[in-house]
């Protein structure tokens, strides 16, 4: 309770309040821009938080995360392109509503569902994080190794048809973090005599390159004519219509909150499941896909419902629940904070300040989304070339300013080009960033466990919690093969090609 009060006090400082407002504003811009999302936005902004107080920095980035998750819906509704991968389900009904001249109603419902989803998700985070952290305090190196392994396999495994590429980039990420001085025996590894590599690959420039620069390069490929937005009306749904959405929003929020807390499942999965559930529950399923307000509310409630709960495994165990949470972990590290159960004891005010800030961020998002919708839609009309140039400039200055190092800018460029090539050939990037985050945790805990073990690697199978995580890791490893098997069987029954069935399955795992 003491930490909760401290957290609220921290939030009420002018720096944190300003950070919430700025974070929401910047998050809206990133969410709006097709191709950019909460992950790239957070990665790009981390370096600029270097001079801030740790709590202010984390609050800024978390507010960005919440707002970007919502703002993808504005793009989906207004121009029929999902601003974020998770907003793809919102597009199905949001864009038809826009074409019918009901954009104002669709935008209001998306905002309303997002705010409710975000607030409920935050309550879940506030209620469960503390008790879970207390359980995680009992974990030793054996359990942490197994947990990190599970966290990694679940994401790499959820790459559908690209399971091999998912595991491959994850292994590459695990290898990349071994570059530098080995902290156990002070031996240099893969440094090639370069002193800049002795401290390892700098995490933040690598993230900026992988997510922001590579995305900017992809956007050059898609340069086209200026987007023209139809006029957005001020009309909002009636109170009766809003009340009618309560059940859909409640169920979708619960789906989002639950799935968000599972490492690696992500917002896109929650959105599609929420959307399908709403269609199954609806009295008018025939309207879905043609302009249903329920079809807009469900994915948005699930999307923002997953935001705060994705932080549960991150804050309590140090395992990111999503790619954005993995990037946030980089921010914690940059500010000298170690996530995991000890964070609650040593830096409780940061944790509870973050939770309180997320409450406020949802409310600010509601206000800015409602009153500023005309401004946000204008932002969509900015030329793509200008946005790309700005991302380039931000990426360079951000990478440089961390350590006044041109080598870090080089790291960002190398990872950016690598990310671009990998994207082009359908290699998923999320497993790599998770591997970059979890790699040191996997290696150090593995080596610590092996040092105290009398039975070699058998120690991982003799401890119950470790055994449970190892079993879960094996299940997530075999999941892609089950997916392929299901697709094959479905294809045989439905007459569709296996590729078409797999594509249908994969849309659930697009982030």
């Amino acid at each position: 309770m003491e930490h909760v009060m401290e957290g609220i006090q921290v939030l009420l400082s002018w720096q944190c309040l300003l950070a919430v407002v700025c974070g929401v504003g910047i998050g809206m811009m990133f969410g709006l821009t097709p191709g950019l999302d909460a992950t790239s936005g957070t990665a790009l902004l981390i370096p600029f938080t270097y001079g801030m107080q740790p709590t202010t920095a984390i609050v800024l980035l978390a507010s960005l995360y919440a707002a970007a998750s919502y703002a993808g819906s504005i793009t989906a509704i207004c121009i029929g392109t999902p601003g974020t991968p998770a907003a793809a389900a919102t597009l199905l009904d949001g864009y038809p509503l826009m074409k019918k001249g009901r954009a104002g109603e669709a935008l209001f419902v998306a905002l309303y569902a997002s705010v409710i989803g975000g607030l409920v998700s935050n309550i879940m985070l506030a209620l469960t994080a503390g008790p879970l952290a207390a359980v995680a305090l009992r974990f030793g190196p054996v359990e942490y190794f197994a947990l990190a392994l599970f966290g990694l396999t679940i994401v790499a495994g959820l790459s559908g048809r690209n399971w091999l590429k998912g595991f491959l980039v994850a292994a590459l990420g695990l290898l990349i973090v071994t570059i530098g001085i080995d902290s156990f025996v002070a031996a240099p590894r893969f440094t090639f005599g370069n002193v800049n590599l002795l401290s390892g690959i700098s995490f933040v420039p690598a993230l900026v390159g992988l997510f922001a620069l590579s995305e900017a390069l992809v956007s050059i490929e898609e340069l086209g004519p200026k987007t023209v937005i139809q006029k957005v009306t001020n009309k909002i749904p009636s109170l009766k219509e809003i009340k009618g959405l309560s059940k859909v929003i409640a169920v979708s929020t619960a789906i989002g909150a639950f799935l968000g807390a599972l490492p690696g499942v992500g917002a896109a999965t929650a959105c599609w499941i929420g959307y399908n559930q709403a269609r199954n529950m609806s009295k008018h399923p025939e309207v879905f896909g043609k302009g249903s307000l329920e079809g807009v509310a469900a994915p948005q409630a699930a999307d923002n419902g997953s935001v705060s709960t994705a932080l549960i495994p991150l804050l309590t165990m140090g395992i990111p629940g999503s790619a954005t949470a993995a990037v946030l972990l980089g921010a914690f590290t940059l500010h000298g904070l170690t996530v995991g159960p000890e964070l609650f004891e040593k830096n409780g005010s940061v944790v509870y300040g973050l939770i309180a800030a997320l409450f406020l961020a949802n409310i600010v998002m509601g206000i800015m989304g409602f009153f500023g919708i005309r401004v946000w839609t204008k932002f969509l009309e900015l030329p793509k070339g200008a946005l790309t140039a700005l991302i380039f400039a931000f990426a360079v200055v951000g990478s440089y300013s961390l350590r006044n190092s041109l080598f870090d800018v080089g790291t960002m460029l190398v990872f950016g080009i690598m990310g671009f090539i990998l994207r082009k050939y359908n290699f998923p990037l999320a497993p790599m960033v998770l591997a970059l985050v979890l790699g040191p945790m996997i290696e150090s805990n593995f080596r610590r466990a092996m040092a105290v073990s009398d039975n070699g690697a058998l120690i991982f199978l003799t401890r119950p919690i470790s055994l449970l995580f190892i079993i879960l890791a094996i299940i997530s490893f075999v999941l892609p093969f089950i997916q392929l098997y299901i697709a094959k069987k479905k294809a045989e029954k439905s007459g569709l090609s296996q590729d078409e069935v797999m594509a249908d399955i994969e849309k659930y795992f697009s982030d």
Partner: protein
């Protein structure tokens, strides 16, 4: 897709073999049963195994539909050259001189035709970085000839 994937996987194979060979040069300590080479070797075996499996899967010719196209590749190359030049010149000439020039050049290359928009974006961004990050957050930026 198939050709590019094969090239990428082949690079992974060669790289993993070379890096595995390098691990024999890592110094060992008796008190550490895994040693500095143990973990990277596991990663390298995984990369090698998965890459070989990928090459095996790609041995059959694929449908033409899956070909990867690189649109606007000239613009991508020019942008990367500009980005590299910007990085180098930033430290020598100065961040606040090179940045607006870089932004104007990139926007023109990327077909932003409205000169007012181009100059406004370049000016506003540079001023924003100067006041918000250089002055308020005291981000260390290279001043070059202005310093």
């Amino acid at each position: 897709m198939r050709k590019g994937t094969i090239i990428i996987l082949s690079i992974f194979v060669l790289l993993s073999v070379y890096l595995y060979w390098l691990t024999f040069g890592f110094s060992d300590v008796q008190s550490d049963p895994v040693g500095p080479a143990g973990y990277p070797r596991v990663c390298l075996i995984l990369i090698l195994g998965l890459s070989l499996l990928g090459l095996w899967q790609n041995r059959k010719p694929e449908a033409k539909l899956n070909a990867v196209k690189l649109n606007n590749w000239k613009l991508i190359i020019i942008s990367l050259i500009l980005l590299l030049s910007y990085t180098i010149l930033m430290t020598n000439i100065g961040y606040f001189i090179v940045t607006p020039i870089f932004l104007i050049l990139v926007m023109r290359v990327l077909k932003v035709e409205n000169w007012v928009a181009v100059i406004s974006v370049a000016a506003v961004f540079t001023l924003f970085i100067y006041f918000a990050f250089y002055k308020v957050l005291q981000l260390p930026l290279p001043m070059g000839i202005l310093g």
